[in-house]
């Protein structure tokens, strides 16, 4: 053992001193900076401050979802229900808030509940989806990818039923559109972005500094050993699924408020976007490895690539291909970097 310590002279003490998670985050930050530079060089007006700001502003909802999904993926599980949950919560918050009995049109009639009550009820429904996920994953031990695919469809289905496959956007009180469109002072920074920033900081602290964060990693590293070491695995997973559903619910309400409408097709594919940014951030699908910081960086990488594509006037149809290729390259690059570091 001692021979080994002497034989392998650390070339870079700083890089050797940090954890693998931080290493991958640093690696992806480097990738981000390089991509940003390249995009700036080939795309006209890319460096404009407005574009930089848009990069973050346009991805706030994906990042919020990414937080919950990161934690769940660190335990070795999936949550694909978040996109459907956004649509459902948004639609329900509108439906609960719409005035009752004002029109012949079924889609213009809601329950007429007070604003606060409507939001609270919508959040309860969002949490119910999280509860269903938690129940099937922890009590019946069904694979989470399947359960959350199921709840994804159920949640989106509820949104479709309530909106008859379209949307609800009439007879809403004025207050409904306030939160999603409000800005901080005179800046163009929206409240939603501030909420995202606060959540990221909280998540970062929970992940790095708390017992709760540690236990999340323990479950991902070895679920059985975690149970035998006294971690209440089922309860912990339930908390995580509820948190993820809560975050999706908040996002759903913010988006419904921003557009002052509950659209059944809202957030289609967001669950995959959240998954993609978590993967870009280096979180391992096998559990026990990952970080929220990485997820934020992942979101920015995806943001740079898609806005560069938009800047180059590519059609929106390019997004699928780009997402696929970027994820693929990121996974390979991260693995290569980790292998190099380990040997």
């Amino acid at each position: 053992m001692d021979d080994m310590a002497i034989a392998v002279k650390p070339k870079n003490t700083f890089l050797r001193g940090i954890s693998n998670e931080s290493f991958i985050s640093l690696f992806m930050i480097t990738v981000l900076i390089v991509l940003y530079g390249v995009a700036g060089a080939i795309v006209p007006n890319f460096f404009l401050p407005r574009n930089v700001l848009n990069l973050v502003m346009n991805y706030w909802f994906t990042i919020i979802l990414g937080i919950g999904v990161t934690f769940i993926m660190v335990t070795g599980n999936f949550d694909l229900s978040v996109g459907g949950n956004i649509a459902m919560t948004g639609v329900l918050s509108v439906y609960f808030c719409q005035a009752a009995g004002v029109s012949q049109n079924a889609l213009a009639n809601g329950l007429g509940l007070p604003y606060g009550v409507a939001l609270a009820l919508a959040m309860v429904c969002a949490l119910a989806i999280g509860g269903i996920n938690a129940f099937f994953v922890t009590k019946l031990k069904v694979p989470s990818i399947i359960v959350t695919l199921g709840t994804m469809m159920i949640a989106r289905g509820v949104a479709q039923v309530v909106t008859q496959g379209a949307q609800r956007n009439t007879s809403l009180p004025d207050i409904f559109g306030v939160v999603g469109n409000a800005s901080v002072g005179n800046t163009p920074i929206k409240i939603s972005v501030v909420i995202m920033a606060v959540l990221v900081v909280v998540a970062f602290v929970v992940e790095r500094k708390t017992v709760f964060g540690r236990r999340t990693y323990l479950i991902g590293a070895n679920r059985e050993a975690a149970r035998l070491s006294g971690v209440k695995v089922n309860r912990h997973l339930a908390y995580l699924y509820l948190t993820s559903a809560f975050l999706a619910g908040v996002t759903g309400i913010l988006l419904a408020s921003e557009f002052k409408a509950g659209v059944s097709g809202r957030a289609t594919g967001y669950e995959f976007d959240a998954l993609v940014i978590v993967l870009l951030g280096g979180t391992s699908i096998n559990g026990g490895f990952g970080s929220v910081l990485g997820t934020v960086v992942g979101a920015l990488v995806l943001g740079v690539v898609t806005s560069a594509a938009t800047g180059l006037l590519l059609s929106p149809d390019w997004q699928f291909l780009l997402k696929g290729i970027v994820t693929f390259l990121a996974i390979l690059a991260q693995r290569y970097a980790l292998d190099r570091r380990k040997s």
């Binding site: 053992m1 392998v8 323990l218 035998l228 006294g230």
Partner: protein, 493 residues
């Protein structure tokens, strides 16, 4: 053809930073049972991996029947005449016994399976263990029988050399005897067996020659008959003498700390016993006797009928309640149940008692590091940094980390399920010392083991288990009749 079936010359295998096999040369004679012993990390497994084609050598030659031998993968090795029985269970649960036997050796026409050769395989199995129906699904067999299926497969492959890596680790005494008979039969049918085991008694019972390895080097190869006894072999393996002897406790406490009454479930039948403070008791029995199930019942993992009282309080059925009450378990399967192998030593040490290193939910990294450093020193864990992934440590060091996890939980009762399984002799005696010290400090300890000498060496009281039933209670310190014990745990009256 010469006398030697295998000649190994100047074999070297280096990994980045380590030389696992260092200039090893020895011969294996035809038609013998050749034992290979050494502590974990002595280089046995690497040597075996080179022979089976799982690893490639860095330097040196191997001659099989005088011809140069190189294997690129296990199938290649088998085609050239060396087949291997690996340590882990390598049967496919979802296939039938017969399908498992022919797996990888099917005869086909245009990709369609044909029923050729199956009969011969089944005959080999019938000789080993007549009670296994070849049409049964392997998932319905017990662990021991799965192992028998695997052994049958290796035997039926008609190789010149069969390597057996700890074949008796999970099978019962009766099955071991049957296996030995088969191995002797193989030798008579001009097959050479390379036999690896941590159970030294087996080497004296079975072996013709033994090769000892230490720190990657070849120490000696000689006929087993030239070795005087167990302790001489141990001395060769670790380079120093170890004394293993039971020492009775001076002032035994009378305070009862654990009371188990009429505990039953599908693997246990009315188990009752008591444990005093500072006492070490041992449960001895064969694989499948219910030892692990008893440990799991006490720890609250499995359900049971009956009552378990700890410190005068009835235990609730869940591991975290058990830990809160002051019980810690060193599980049977170290890597899958005890350790977080992808996490570092630091990430493993404190997990059973997070409250002690945290304040209102926030972890104090400094005290975590302090605690970890303290345990690395105290248990003599061989590492140069606490940031090392535990997957990269040797078995003995991994087990010490599982121990430090349990010690940090401040438990008054430690349940040790096979605490030294797959651990080399040096680390074993260190772990025995840790156990004795703990008992000396007033901790109560229950050891569940299928190694008799381990139980006899350290336990104050010995219980014999057979098929989930407590058969006998023996106070240690008197003369222990091993034969009688073996008689009892194999179902004798």
């Amino acid at each position: 053809m010469g006398d030697n079936v295998l000649e190994i010359r100047n074999l070297i295998k280096t990994f980045p930073g380590v030389t696992a096999v260092n200039d090893v040369s020895f011969d294996i004679r035809r038609n013998t049972v050749h034992c290979l012993v050494g502590e974990n990390g002595a280089g046995k497994s690497t040597l075996i991996k080179i022979l089976t084609g799982a690893e490639q050598r860095s330097y040196g030659t191997i001659r099989l029947n005088g011809d140069d031998y190189v294997a690129h993968n296990p199938k290649d090795a088998r085609d050239k005449g060396i087949s291997t029985l690996f340590q882990e269970l390598n049967v496919v649960d979802q296939l039938t016994v017969a399908e498992n036997l022919t797996l990888g050796m099917e005869v086909t026409t245009f990709g369609f399976l044909r029923n050729v050769g199956t009969e011969k395989m089944i005959d080999v199995l019938k000789n080993l263990e007549p009670s296994i129906d070849p049409r049964r699904k392997v998932s319905t067999l017990s662990v021991a029988k799965k192992q028998i299926v695997e052994i049958a497969k290796a035997v039926a492959s008609e190789s010149e050399i069969i390597i057996m890596d700890e074949p008796t680790a999970a099978i019962s005494e009766g099955e071991i005897q049957r296996l030995f008979k088969i191995i002797r039969g193989l030798r008579d049918k001009s097959v050479t067996v390379i036999y690896i085991s941590h159970r030294l008694d087996e080497i004296f019972e079975l072996g013709d020659a033994v090769t000892v390895m230490r720190d990657g080097r070849h120490i000696d190869t000689r006929p087993v008959s030239d070795i005087r006894d167990r302790s001489e072999l141990i001395r060769m393996m670790i380079g120093k003498t170890v004394f293993e002897k039971y020492e009775p406790k001076e002032n035994p406490s009378t305070e009862t700390i654990l009371k188990v009454e009429d505990v039953s479930n599908d693997k246990l039948c009315n188990v009752s016993f008591e444990l005093r403070k500072g006492e070490i008791i041992g449960f001895y029995g064969l694989v499948g006797a219910g030892k692990t199930e008893l440990a799991r019942a006490i720890y609250g993992v499995d359900r049971y009928d009956g009552s378990i009282t700890f410190k005068e309080k009835t235990l609730e059925s869940s591991p975290h309640k058990a830990i809160e009450a002051g019980i810690a378990l060193v599980p049977e399967e170290r890597r899958s149940e005890g350790l977080f192998t992808i996490l570092t030593i630091r990430g493993n040490t404190c997990v059973m008692n997070m409250d002690k290193i945290s304040r209102s939910g926030f972890v104090n990294n400094q005290s975590e590091k302090r605690v970890t450093a303290e345990y690395i020193r105290q248990l003599n864990i061989a590492t140069h940094t606490m940031e090392k992934e535990t997957a990269k440590l040797s078995g003995g060091n991994q087990q010490k980390i599982v121990f430090s996890k349990c010690l940090f939980a401040d438990a008054d009762l430690l349940l040790l399920d096979e605490p030294t399984r797959g651990i080399d002799v040096g680390a074993k005696s260190e772990i025995y010392q840790i156990i004795r010290d703990l008992a000396h400090d007033g901790k109560s300890i229950i050891i569940f083991s299928s190694e008799l000498h381990e139980i006899v060496n350290i336990c104050d009281t010995i219980y014999l288990l057979y098929e989930g039933v407590l058969k006998e209670r023996i106070e240690n310190g008197t003369v222990i009749d091993s034969e009688k014990i073996l008689h009892t745990v194999t179902g004798g009256e």
